[in-house]
Amino acid sequence: MISLFRRSLTARAVLTTVFLGGLSVAIIGSFLSYSLANSFYQNRLSQVLTETERAVDSVQTTIAASSLTDETALQTLLNSVVPSLEIAGGSAPRQVALLRSPGQGQLQLFQSPISQNLDLRSIPDQLRQEVRQSPGRLTYTPVSLAEGQADVPGITVGTPIAIPIAGDFELYLVYSLSAEQRALELVQNALAIGGFFLLALIAAASFFVTRRVVAPVEEAAEAAREISEGKLDKRLPEAGQDIIATLASSFNKMATSLQTQIERLDALSRMQRRFVSDVSHELRTPMTTIKLAGEVLFSNRSKLEPALSRSAELLQDQIERFDRLLSDLLEISRYDAGAIVPEFEVHDVKAVASAAIKSIEPLAKDRNTSLHLLAPEESIRAEIDARRIERLLRNLLSNAIEHGGGKDVTVEVGENLQAVAICVTDRGVGMSRNELERVFDRFWRADPARQRSVGGTGLGLAISKEDSALHRGWLQVWSKPKVGTSFRLTLPKTKDAVIANSPLPLPPRGLEA
């Protein structure tokens, strides 16, 4: 629910609107209900007071008119007063009590006449005190009456009455407000139902309005996502003239211009790659002839006079260099064209590393460099294209030997649960930060002034990077001037796996210090 609230603009807008709407409805409803209740009460109160006044008058008239001689006659008279007041109520039934004020001499036979089902609790003591203290006036208080199961509001009005012979009395009339209560409940129910429908209406309205605005924005967001994923021909529908339509048309213009740019660049780079690939292919046949001819000359150079013989040697060296360059160019153009089909098989990575070391041994011997393999006892198996990985390692080794200044070169092999790693480390001249950034660039050389002796083509590391990417692996480099350089290759053990961390540290242990 919370995540929906965070994610969906519509949900947020609708919920906020409903919350605010609900708050307003509640406030208005409470106010209406309160003022209605109040006005109902006030109306009924003034009606009740008028009725009571009339009743008191009639009682006083009745008493004055009669000539009371003894208690029995008084009792009879008073007993007749109560029922007459009950019926003469007018609007709604009322209950009557004629109570003798306390603190007077006992009357022997007298009983206070009260309505049959009057609960004396509806005449609170406090009211009686107030009534006794305010002769000639009506005093009232709101009370709660038990009516059936429920309590209903009511009003009790009282006034003192003096009766000859019998002394001071208090006349109370109890009025029920149940009719007003019912009316108020009816109105409150109507308000509640109306408020609920109003809220539902607000929710629906805000949902539709928000959808109307948000839907095109969401569509634009989705389209932008698709474009960023490479579906460059994705466009938004343009309809109407409002701000949404403007958004759509601007978005489409942007997408079109992006698409044109990208396609233009794409075509250009495709053409360039195609050119490199074509040139390289076209060069192969003449290159074969040149190579064969060079070899014939070279192998027969003893029959040539010294200058010609030396020329044959130089020719042979340069043909070999040209040959390597051509094959690297072909390889990288194959990568550029996406025409590489790797051959994954399970191999022992240690054996592949050993093979690479063995094949580079002559060069190492030439440079007085010793190569060390650090690897665990057991074999380390991974699904790799062994030919490419061996080539990659050979390339790293040849770089390490070239820049290692004759110091030891170590090859460390390690594994964890999902990955294998091979780290090739030299302790030579190292590289600066700027040089490191360009180390995988095509035809880039660490130091242009330095003699090119090993005869790399300048494409080696670029191809290595592609080889490692083909395996979904990482090829990372660490270097520090005058300390050394370390290349770490990390490969997943199964070809489609994703690696999370490398089994070997970079920089390697013992080199950072």
């Binding site: 192969r284 290159m287 002839t289 190579k291 001819a293 070899e295 072909l330 062994a386």
Partner: protein, 226 residues
């Protein structure tokens, strides 16, 4: 006796140069410059081996390879300007025994040719595998009275496996013993030729009984009775 080698390539300079290298190595080259004349020259000169460029005008090298295979088992080594998978596999499936990627050097080329022309060693004896009998003297493979025709390479492959029945040969071992590669080479050579061999000798090539695959290791000869 000097072996006669047919060189088929449309590039005049390369054709002549290959000829020089072959002559220097003691072979006698004959030439064809396009696909159509290649088959004619082949019938005419009856060479011991064909060096065949894949990219040829008119009829492609693949087509030429198929035409020659239709009537002859003479070793065919493809010259391919692309090391690309499709071309190589298409050539091997058309019946070529081996391939060399341009630009190659002379030693490499001659080594490939020599390996293909090397006869099966003299100690090789007639072996039985299932219902088949292989006679290395006559290159004959018989199933009862039925005569099966294999190319020398296919014969050598089958003989190598059948001479040590039940031994598992890895693809690398077969490349070394049958093709004569000293170092790791393209294992597709083995895969494609095992398929071709099976299609000729197995009664149901989909369900081989003679050349069995050992998953993850390679191949071995099995007997049909198993």
């Amino acid at each position: 006796m000097t072996h006669r080698i047919l060189v088929v390539d449309d590039d005049d300079a390369l054709r002549e140069m290959v000829g020089l290298v072959l002559s220097a190595s003691g072979y006698s080259p004959v030439f064809a410059s396009d696909g159509l004349s290649a088959v004619e020259v082949f019938r005419d000169q009856n060479p011991d081996l064909v060096l065949l460029d894949i990219m040829l005008p008119g009829q492609s090298g693949i087509e030429v390879c198929k035409s020659i295979r239709a009537f002859s088992g003479v070793p065919i080594v493809m010259l391919t300007a692309k090391g690309d998978t499709d071309d190589v596999v298409a050539g091997l499936e058309a019946g070529a025994d081996d391939y060399v990627v341009k630009p190659h050097n002379g030693a490499e080329l001659v080594a490939r040719i020599r390996a293909r022309l090397r006869p099966i060693s003299d100690e090789a004896i007639t072996v039985q595998i299932g219902s088949l009998s292989l006679d290395p003297k006559t290159f004959e493979v018989r199933r009862g009275q039925q005569h099966l025709s294999l190319t020398p390479l296919e014969f050598k492959l089958l003989h190598t496996l059948a001479a040590k029945p039940q031994q598992v040969f890895s693809r690398e071992m077969l490349l070394e013993q049958v093709w004569g590669y000293q170092y790791k080479a393209d294992t597709r050579l083995v895969n494609v030729h095992v398929q071709r061999l099976r299609s000729k000798i197995e009664e149901d090539p989909e369900n081989p009984k003679i050349v069995m695959t050992v998953r993850g290791h390679g191949y071995r000869a099995g007997s049909e009775t198993q």
